[in-house]
Symmetry: C2
Subunit: 118 residues, 2 copies
């Protein structure tokens, strides 16, 4: 069971564990570039704590930082999430599968109910 991409997937999922980091990613999905201080503003935690979260996101390749004068802006770099999404997609068949089973069950009940009525 060799998986050469394991370390990138490890980093991606580890970055996604924390709700603050997910909230940062969700915001960057809507806004193209946000300054670090603007990003930190909605959170109860202090700026250095937000910076640490940005470090984790940056190391996972999920955000990139750029400096323009004194302002550091952060942008989304969503590509690594593609592999995580693909990894999870294989389980999709279970939900459609359970839906199929549910439909089959409902249809069987319908046939039975029709039989009772006759």
């Amino acid at each position: 069971m060799v998986n050469h991409n394991a370390s990138q997937l490890d980093r991606t999922f580890a970055a996604l564990v924390d709700p603050t980091r997910r909230a940062i990613l969700a915001r960057l999905e809507c806004e193209e570039a946000v300054s670090v201080s603007d990003l930190a503003q909605p959170f109860a935690i202090k700026l250095p704590a937000v910076m640490k979260h940005l470090d984790v996101l940056g190391e996972a390749g999920l955000v990139v930082r750029a400096k323009a004068g004194r302002i550091v802006t952060v942008r989304l770099s969503p590509e690594p999430m593609r592999e995580a999404l693909e990894w999870l997609s294989r389980y999709e068949r279970f939900w459609s599968g359970s839906l199929d089973r549910l439909t089959a069950f409902a249809e069987r009940r319908e046939v039975e109910a029709a039989g009772d009525g006759a």
Copy 2:
């Protein structure tokens, strides 16, 4: 930014960080029920370490264990991964977006090339 499901999503992503746990989930995707000793067999790590990974997966609600006599079997419980997949799906537009931009770029080059030829 209140997210009432944060703790389940936290647990799901935390469970997915480790490649051994991902390998266990991947195996359970193909085989309906596997005994703990069979699950442990492909890994270089010892049985107690595998049991710890199964605890993490169990606490995240991703596997269920059942005991039949002396044999403990493990089954996949994929439902929590659905939320994780949905969370990640919002970033899909970036990949299709970059494909759109690439197509537009290629078309523009084609028009330019046709213009040069005329």
